[in-house]
Symmetry: C2
């Protein structure tokens, strides 16, 4: 049996794990990602993580076959490099992830962006098990995603597919920093939800410490029948539902999986989004469609990285 | 060498042709489709068309290996049946196309919807040659399309993918008969373009025979600097451009091919749509992206049907 190392680099933590091709995790560890340090320091930290796992593998006589790395930013899957800047890690621009890790460890290295990692993990061993065509959507500070077609990650011509947050749902809407107009994340991502609620509070003349307002607080209040919170949540769910209906009309997936911080609100949120999807999408595409909450939580990133490494190494050697 | 029969059933004509796996056409014929008659009559007409081609094949000692059929409506690719109603052919609901043709001719029969046929033809032997990930969009009375991923038709879970015309680009917009809100085809399909121009004419106090107004006339006038026609055309191009930008952000294709009656206006139209796509889509997805006019015109449907038959028969016998 062969084992794989999966890394999940984030703005705060570096998660790293050892597992098998089915996404089973034997060891999972976490350390700070040193995201505010130099690119070299971040690599040194990653090297230390990999060394730790190789040590554990050796002690247990496990054969490590490859390394998978999930990273923020636009990843060129072909070269294993970051393309341009990466969100939340200032010095990570153009980082040659594969090159550095391959030179150091003499193992095959595969790397992809973090949303794709979560998508493939959810598809294979999470909420998407048993489906072939899956769209994963993560709703947090922004809205991102991953598309699985015929059980495989679909990355697009420039490895930039699944930018679901930048779908225009209002051509008369606000300009988005991305250059587009009326993008979904201006209506349905966490900052939009918080801002909408704050503006409703102000309009109604309430005075609150606005720094304490989060989507969690809003969803909690909505549950307790705070009218403004309910309106806010309903609007966010409707916008996301319309965005997902667009994806459903375009891709006719078998399952849509919703993850990310906002989705942790659970069935109150997912159920409401689901109703709006079913209200707006074409009827033939809704037959059998499942709209599900992501299942893997915190472990999704490393699990996806392990599956990425295993998938490609198997393809590689076949 | 093996040859294939391709049929393209439309609301007016039935086109039928004999060709090879590369989409080369040897004979192409047309007859009325009898779209206003009974389902049985439409099948009798199709049978006659196939018999004619089999006769020609026999005279020329050509071996016919399979039949491909493009049809309006939602086609279940797996069973080769129409699902529900088909636009423009009243009695064609639930037509068991494969079953009827296979029983009659004892040849493998493959069937798919007409937009997919044109998409696969354009991808293989038309404007999309050389690209792997292609989105085809047809703009006419409605807006439809086809998605090619890794050179293969992508049909979705219920064979209902690529409903590009029903993408919401204005969540505050008009209700669409489909059940959605602010669908792209309410802004960018031919009837929307004609209606917008008529309303502009009325507003300006012009009196014209409104029955004579077509997208062709509007685009002609736009070319000749009719201000209202130019505004109309620009709006339609902007809406389509925003819709395509959404598709580009989601799928990051290498090429987008625009066909259908409206696109016959050519580069005046395509060029303007292209500018709006480049203004609205994410920069990394635009690198190398081609936005092209369809090339195959009238022959695309039968060519696609021939390629469909050839592709699947090859897969079938391998």
């Amino acid at each position: 049996m062969r084992y794989y190392i999966g890394l999940d680099l984030g703005g705060t933590n570096l998660k790293y794990a050892l597992g098998d091709a089915t996404g089973n995790i034997l060891v999972k560890l976490t350390r700070p990602s040193w995201a505010d340090k130099s690119q070299e320091s971040i690599f040194v930290n990653i090297f230390a993580a990999v060394e730790k796992l190789l040590e554990i593998a050796k002690e247990n006589e496990l054969d490590v076959a490859a390394i998978g790395v999930g990273s923020p930013g636009n990843v060129d899957f072909n070269t294993g490099r970051i393309v341009g800047q990466a969100a939340n890690i200032k010095e990570w621009a153009d980082a040659p992830i594969r090159e550095r890790l391959q030179n150091r460890f003499h193992l095959p290295v595969w790397t992809d962006n973090d949303a794709n990692m979560v998508a493939i993990a959810e598809a294979r061993v999470g909420a998407g098990r048993g489906f072939n065509h899956i769209v994963f959507i993560t709703v947090g500070t922004g809205i991102g995603g991953g598309i699985i077609i015929n059980g495989q990650m679909y990355r697009g011509g420039n490895y930039n597919a699944a930018e679901i947050g930048h779908m225009c749902i209002n051509y008369q809407g606000k300009k988005c920093p991305c250059g587009g107009t009326g993008c979904l994340e201006l209506y349905a991502a966490a900052p939009a939800i918080v801002n909408l609620y704050i503006s409703k509070l102000r309009e109604a003349g309430y005075q609150e410490n606005e720094d304490l307002i989060s989507t969690e607080l809003i969803f909690d209040r909505a549950k307790n029948n705070d009218v403004l919170a309910r309106e806010t949540m309903d609007f966010a769910c409707k916008m996301l539902g319309i965005g997902i209906a667009n994806v459903v009309n375009l891709l006719n997936p078998q399952a849509v999986i919703i993850g990310g911080g906002v989705a942790e609100a659970g069935e109150d949120y997912i159920g409401r989004v689901r109703r709006y999807v079913f209200e707006h999408a074409l009827k033939p595409s809704l037959i059998g469609l499942r709209i599900l909450q992501a299942q893997l939580g915190n472990e999704a990133g490393v699990t996806g990285a392990i599956i990425l490494a295993a998938d490609n190494t198997l393809n590689f050697t076949n």
